[in-house]
């Protein structure tokens, strides 16, 4: 148990007839940053909600910090922090009151809560606006407050559901910095995102989800190397030309995926760009390093961001 933070076996969730999460298995080690990547509707958020106890588990097992989520979710919730997709801040309250009220839910004694709140507001650089109403804050500031709120009980695991969606680059960097510091202290982080860059920056290991299942799992580097190689050639084409060139590439045993308006070719040693371009002539070509998005393309057959 000591080195495993989260253990899921055959985790399943149905909403009515719709299978949201279909028997997934994974483990998250202590101190690890584990990312769940996938398009909207992939089952990321449902998986998260099962882990922090807001959705009932249909089948399978889920142990968090050695505790069974089905019977000991109360105990688990005392030891985790959650940053949900929508902040859920108390809009009528001041910034400080938001933290104090939330501490009261955790039964943190008032004096202690005040101290912690002030410390955390300094950490997320909101100490200047401690007494302002939350509705006056910008989106980025609200997010920072939500992160401060999630840390108030000094959690062992932090769950973040799309923590930087809709934020400007600067706000995003600031949040990444806080998360990196949290990780440096040996704490576990689980986050969902559809930003490739975020996953590559923060995560030690990634699970790629689509349609309720985990397509593949591993370190970002290993996932890219094993599945798509180091470089990718993108060739822009007219939609109506794509079937023709697809057939030609298939005949030559080329590793590629056809998308709308382009063909994405995974470059290995045997297929050099010059040769490929003689097969598929186009002015619109890009060679770039392979990314997690390509891994996703390979497994899901469609782009990560629809």
């Amino acid at each position: 148990m000591a080195n495993i933070s989260i253990e899921a076996k055959g985790l399943t969730k149905k909403f009515g007839d719709k299978m949201a999460v279909n028997g997934i298995n994974f483990e998250v080690s202590r101190g690890e940053c584990f990312g769940v990547l996938g398009p909207n509707g992939a089952g990321k958020s449902t998986t998260m909600r099962m882990m922090y106890g807001l959705t009932r588990i249909h089948h399978g097992e889920l142990f968090v910090l050695g505790l069974n989520m089905k019977s000991q979710s109360r105990e688990v919730k005392a030891k985790i922090g959650v940053v949900p997709q929508e902040d859920g801040l108390d809009v009528d309250f001041s910034v400080l009151d938001n933290l104090l009220v939330y501490s009261s839910y955790h039964a943190i004694p008032p004096e202690e809560a005040k101290e912690r709140a002030q410390t955390l507001l300094r950490l997320v650089k909101l100490d200047d606006v401690a007494h302002s109403p939350v509705e006056h804050l910008s989106g980025g500031m609200k997010r920072r407050l939500t992160i401060a709120r999630s840390l108030i009980n000094n959690p062992d695991i932090l769950f973040l559901d799309e923590p930087t969606t809709g934020l400007d680059p600067q706000a995003r960097l600031f949040i990444w910095d806080i998360l990196k510091r949290f990780k440096l202290e040996g704490k576990t982080i689980v986050l969902t995102t559809h930003y490739m860059e975020e996953a590559e920056q923060l995560c030690d290991r990634i699970a790629i989800m689509d349609k309720g299942t985990i397509l593949t799992m591993g370190t970002p580097k290993a996932l890219i190397e094993a599945n798509v190689g180091l470089q990718v050639l993108e060739i822009g084409l007219k939609n109506e030309d794509i079937p023709y060139f697809s057939r030609k590439l298939t005949q030559e045993n080329t590793d590629f995926i056809a998308l709308e308006n382009k063909i994405v070719i995974f470059l290995h040693e045997q297929n050099r760009p010059e040769k490929l371009l003689s097969t598929v002539p186009s002015q619109d070509i890009v060679i770039r390093p392979a990314s997690l998005n390509d891994v996703f393309l390979r497994f899901a057959g469609h782009a990560l961001k629809d």
Partner: protein
């Protein structure tokens, strides 16, 4: 700054006692109430004053005595009871729906060790508390207008807390079916309004067809009206014991129904 070290001396937060959440969630509402306190205070006195003036004195002037009591005396316990029921009903519909959907207040609370049952009790007790405050305001206005002179108003207010609690539970039950705010038009026009008209409130129910007389007893409000009329010595023909027993029964059943729906909504 190291987050962990900065945060605490004792490394782990102990698990809160069970039901501790009822108090903390109630206190959250109280904190929010403080922001709107003065506005609320004004209208909870103003409204009963208007009702008593318009209906009690205005219409009452054209009504002959009912069972030897003036119309104002007949109507006043009904106003107390309807207020006690409808204020928490509105709180538990419009306001709790907002907290459930737009503000995500409950979801935020559930990220902590607090459980749905604690939220339920906190919310019902909170709405009932607001109902009781309004009820006390009506009682004070009634005293000011010299409608009653008995100390039996105090046990009446205590009993009306139960009526407020039932109003909250009914409201919350409706809320669990709501898909949008328009739904509450049905709850108010289709349930609350007819109930407040036909529960022996504005006129003796005896004038109505038998079927309506029987049907209305399957709803809570009339039992509250009868109990308060009994306590204030205005009409003692209905057994106080039966009225109170009925109210407890309604409280139990409505809380149970509200809970079974509410907790499914909170943790899906």
């Amino acid at each position: 700054m190291e987050i962990t070290r900065a945060l605490h001396r004792n490394l782990t937060t102990p698990l809160p006692r069970r039901l501790n959440g009822v108090k903390t969630v109630w206190m959250r509402n109280f904190l929010q109430f403080r922001y709107t306190f003065w506005v609320t205070l004004t209208w909870i006195f103003f409204e009963p004053f208007l009702s008593l003036l318009a209906i009690g004195y205005g219409i009452g002037n054209y009504v002959s005595a009912i069972n030897g009591k003036t119309y104002l005396e007949f109507y006043f316990p009904a106003l107390l009871t309807v207020t006690s029921f409808s204020v928490p009903f509105f709180e538990a519909t419009y306001n709790y729906y907002t907290k459930l959907t737009h503000q995500k207040v409950y979801r935020t609370i559930l990220m902590t060790p607090i459980e749905p049952v604690e939220i339920l009790w906190a919310e019902l007790l909170w709405a009932a508390f607001k109902g009781t405050i309004s009820c006390i305001a009506v009682a004070l206005v009634g005293r000011f207008l010299n409608i009653y002179e008995t100390w039996m108003i105090i046990p009446s207010i205590i009993l009306l807390f139960l009526v407020s609690f039932i109003g909250a539970a009914f409201g919350l039950f409706f809320t669990t079916f709501a898909k949008n705010y328009d739904f509450f038009n049905y709850a108010v026009s289709g349930f609350l309004l007819p109930l407040s008209f036909f529960s022996d409130t504005y006129f003796p129910i005896i004038q109505m067809p038998n079927s309506i007389q029987i049907a209305i007893h399957y709803f809570p409000l009339i039992h509250g009206v009868h109990a308060v009329r009994y306590l204030l010595g205005i009409d003692t023909q209905h057994s106080l014991f039966i009225s109170i027993a009925a109210l407890f029964l309604f409280a139990g059943v409505s809380t149970r129904l509200a809970y079974s729906r509410f907790q499914q909504l909170l943790i899906d």
